[in-house]
């Protein structure tokens, strides 16, 4: 039986991991390669790296990070942030990432999803979605709207419609981030997660709002998510992957056991 996945997310800026609250006030908290190895050994099922380097010229720093991570851990990891072209995707995948995540570039140019899926396979292409609740209105029947630029720019695009379109264009997975919940540590956006997960047939990773193990248990059951993204709750040592998995197991949720040698 398929296990639910617990996925630490590392924001990387110019080769260093950071964790920002609502995308602001980032602070360096470590070396991404060391952290990747740490989470690999701690029982993470997968890792996500977001490159938040502002300058496109410095993207080669991230490619080097990806290459070193790939030599160090033997679980899947995806890389997102600043992926604009097929060439950006290729560079990340060739450096050793299992998947590449497209977000705002896909909103502006949906074809990048189908191009990526055709060139590298659907399983390589993750559609990253940043979503805000705006209430039902014209053009936004689900009440959830796609935003970019860390939530500052509303795109007039319905989140549910976009998820379905992303799937039909060939995305192999959706990483669904609630801007409203992100950084609050009050739990995932359950309604949004369930809405999307119920209406697509590809896996959905819930993102934004994780503060304690109970939040993961909720989103993986009631929220119908296939995987849950976590960040600060583990980065600052509040919880370990083992703490989280012990709770999930206790709740009867199928997880991959942490192996002890």
């Amino acid at each position: 039986m398929l296990s639910k996945r617990v996925i630490p997310c590392l924001d990387v800026r110019e080769g260093k991991t950071t964790k920002g609250i609502k995308f602001e006030n980032n602070v360096d908290i470590g070396d991404p390669v060391e952290m990747a190895r740490f989470y690999y050994e701690a029982g993470a099922d997968e890792l996500v790296f977001y490159d938040i380097t502002a300058s496109h010229e410095k993207r080669n720093i991230m490619i080097d990070v990806v290459r070193r991570v790939a030599e160090t851990i033997f679980i899947p990891f995806s890389v997102g942030g600043g992926i604009r072209t097929l060439e950006d995707m290729r560079a990340v995948l060739l450096a050793g990432a299992e998947k590449v995540s497209v977000n705002s570039a896909a909103v502006k140019n949906p074809e990048i999803i189908s191009q990526g899926a055709k060139a590298f396979g659907n399983q390589c292409v993750v559609l990253g979605m940043d979503v805000k609740q705006v209430g039902e209105k014209k053009g936004i029947p689900s009440g959830y709207e796609i935003v970019i630029n860390g939530g500052r720019t509303y795109m007039g695009l319905d989140a549910l419609e976009w998820a379905k379109k992303g799937q039909s264009l060939g995305a192999g997975e959706i990483c669904l981030n609630s801007i409203d919940a992100d950084g609050t540590k009050d739990g995932y956006e359950m309604n949004l997660t369930r809405l999307i997960s119920d209406n697509v047939s590809i896996p959905v990773i819930a993102s934004g709002g994780a503060g304690k193990p109970e939040h993961l248990a909720d989103v993986l059951t009631k929220g119908c998510a296939d995987a849950a993204l976590i960040a600060s709750m583990v980065h600052y040592g509040t919880y370990t992957i083992a703490d989280i998995k012990a709770h999930l197991k206790q709740q009867g949720i199928k997880i991959r056991k942490i192996l002890t040698n």
Binding site: A70, F74, N122, N261
Partner: protein, 227 residues
């Protein structure tokens, strides 16, 4: 030297990295001569079976692999490499290598009744959705960590524990005609063959290079395997 077969099917460097991490030299090549005379052969792959077979035929890799199989060279297929050793694949209705009798079949969204999902998750889900009459379909691709029921012992399983899980990403799965070709099974909607083999050939539907320590262990066992 271990030969990792390049047939244009995705990223082969992750397999090479894993092999090198274990301390073995390998070379990535699409040269059919090098393949037919290799010490050991790994043929990984993502993407479509049909596309993979087309490239193989163009480069003569299909014949090289058949020749290697007949010459008893230890061979390991991974993911699509576990599908193209069958007679054919439902994906693009492609004729494949025919080293193991049977077909690669597609997962269907409606393959699993909800009862096959995890019980606790299922019950919570049902209680939420009973009024809304929402139907839960099997998500395809089968993506993530899943178990392995060893149904027949194999040297490559040495050291593998019953609770070990492996990383899968696939929409098709091998279905050998002969039960004796099946070494491991996994449940996703149905019970499917996730590890198959015959003589000097072994293949896993899961990604050994992305399955953490248990995956590395099977890979290491393969590097030492004398069938």
């Amino acid at each position: 030297m271990i030969v990792i077969v390049d047939y244009g099917a995705g990223n082969l460097t992750s397999v090479k990295r894993a092999v090198s991490y274990l301390g073995y030299d390998s070379v990535i090549t699409g040269d059919s001569k090098k393949i037919a005379t290799a010490e050991r052969i790994i043929f990984p792959g993502v993407g479509a079976a049909g596309a993979a077979m087309e490239v193989m035929q163009q480069r003569g890799i299909d014949r090289a692999l058949k020749q290697a199989f007949a010459s008893k060279i230890p061979m390991l297929g991974i993911c699509v490499g576990c599908q193209i050793i069958m007679d054919r694949s439902e994906e693009n209705d492609a004729a494949c290598l025919g080293l193991i009798k049977g077909e690669a079949k597609a997962f269907l969204n409606n393959m699993a009744e909800i009862s096959l999902l995890d019980k606790a998750v299922d019950e919570t889900y049902r209680s939420i959705n009973s009024e809304k009459n929402v139907q839960r379909y099997l998500k395809v691709p089968h993506m993530g960590w899943n178990g392995l029921d060893v149904v027949q012992p194999h040297l490559l399983f040495n050291g593998i524990k019953p609770e070990d899980e492996f990383y899968f990403v696939h929409s098709y799965f091998p279905m050998p005609v002969d039960e004796s070709s099946i070494y491991g099974k996994t449940e996703y909607g149905i019970q499917f063959a996730s590890a198959i083999g015959k003589d000097n050939l072994f293949a896993t539907q899961f990604h050994l290079e992305k399955s953490g320590e248990p995956g590395l262990l099977i890979l290491k066992n393969f590097c030492l395997w004398k069938p």
